[in-house]
């Protein structure tokens, strides 16, 4: 008898949830797409593309065999840049970054999508808190040279924050990994088309 009561309630509320899921599904997918578009527009300038980045994607594998979705920016069919997400491990866990790279391997922009760093210390990687992340725009694997792609404390050229070294170190490393990923796949991403 108790089982029947519990079962009936489960069935009833299960139905309610299924219906709500149906109703909200379309809006939720739409919102997720808008989110992606917003973060993409921050690393790929509007003026260098006339296509819809979210629809022009290719899935590639990085050196650790993880899948990375690459969004391609085109102007009149010609590739003008790519954007992709890359992650690093910070003080509080995973830091997700969005990188925009032009066909020559120069950074068009970098933004932090999500992180769990300490508020007030590590969160200066956000544009909301500081301009730190903007310094990467225009840099590439050769500029600065690889041994300088580190925070100052490790002998590189990038500032770290007072009281938080792990966060900037993780971000610098992740960006470098991202650029290396681009370099490794440059031929298949940019080649032939031109």
């Amino acid at each position: 008898m108790h089982g029947v009561i519990l079962g009936t309630f489960c069935l009833g509320f299960g139905l309610v949830l299924a219906v709500t899921d149906r109703i909200t599904k379309k809006d939720i997918t739409l919102r997720a797409m808008e989110d992606r578009q917003t973060s993409l527009s921050q690393v790929i300038p509007e003026r260098i593309h006339d296509n819809n980045l979210v629809k022009d994607t290719v899935v590639m594998k990085d050196s650790r065999n993880r899948e990375i979705t690459v969004y391609r920016a085109r102007m009149k069919g010609k590739l003008t840049g790519v954007a992709f997400e890359i992650s690093g491990t910070g003080y509080g866990g995973e830091i997700m970054l969005m990188l925009g790279v032009d066909p020559d391997g120069r950074l068009l922009g970098v933004r932090v999508l999500s992180h769990h760093e300490t508020p007030g210390l590590g969160d200066r990687i956000e544009t909301k808190k500081s301009n730190w992340i903007l310094q990467f725009t225009g840099l590439s694997l050769g500029n600065p040279p690889p041994q300088r792609w580190k925070v100052k404390k490790d002998g590189g050229q990038f500032d770290s924050f007072a009281g938080a070294t792990i966060t900037p170190r993780a971000v610098v490393l992740a960006i470098r990994n991202g650029l290396e990923f681009f370099a490794a796949n440059k031929a298949s991403l940019t080649g032939r088309k031109q």
Partner: protein
């Protein structure tokens, strides 16, 4: 009957406040009170869940047998939380980006469950709805207060990003109280949550003492 509702409302908002008197729901209290806006948003979401689940439990109270009542209560709370989660994701997306991670935590907040067990399971639908709603609003009040104190001391602002929660007209609510670099970082970190909550509990008891009320020592049965 009116006085009944008055008691319920007063109980929920102040006398028997979920956080400041019963010390329930400590997990979302600590996690979500880094700013007044976050506290307000989390509180309102919890109030919605509590009102809906209290109402539903009261409606079905005669059909829920004693032996399976706890799983049924949790099922109802969890369903309401999922509804709120989906609806916010779809239609209040900006807020969802701030609170989304914490909405599922409402299930593990024992304040809703405590009210279902203590009130809704034995009462009629309408009083239960009122009880759930005002217990939730009392929770909102406490969270917003704690959030405001932590935010002012920790980041020097008050109700920052309130326009994301309440809409553009509320932009004027966003205040800067202290200069940007004066914030005490500890207040936004977990120790600040415990400090401020503790102090506010003391403040509330002093108020009650002065009003000549006896302090109720309601032991927390669980304190997630």
């Amino acid at each position: 009957m009116t006085s009944d509702y008055q008691t319920i409302i007063k109980d929920g908002l102040w006398d028997n406040n979920g956080v400041l008197s019963m010390l329930l729901g400590m997990c979302p209290t600590m996690a979500m009170t880094t700013s007044a806006t976050n506290g307000l948003g989390m509180g309102l979401a919890t109030a919605a869940v509590m009102a809906a689940s209290s109402f539903l439990v009261a409606v079905f109270r005669k059909r829920i047998s004693q032996e399976v009542r706890i799983p049924v209560f949790i099922l109802i709370v969890a369903s309401m939380v999922t509804l709120v989660d989906l609806a916010m994701n779809a239609w209040m997306h900006e807020l969802y980006k701030v609170l989304g991670l914490f909405i599922p935590l409402i299930v593990s907040n024992c304040l809703p469950l405590a009210r279902l067990e203590a009130f809704a399971a034995k009462s009629k639908a309408l009083p239960s709805l009122v009880d759930g709603l005002f217990m939730g609003l009392g929770f909102t009040l406490a969270l917003t207060l704690i959030g405001a104190v932590r935010e002012i001391l920790g980041s020097g602002t008050l109700f920052a990003d309130a326009s994301l929660l309440l809409g553009p007209p509320f932009k004027a609510m966003e205040l800067r109280i202290l200069p940007a670099n004066m914030g005490v970082l500890m207040m936004i970190l977990p120790p600040g949550g415990f400090l401020v909550t503790g102090l506010l509990v003391v403040v509330k008891r002093l108020f009650d003492l002065r009003a000549g009320k006896e302090i109720q020592m309601t032991g927390a049965h669980c304190a997630t």
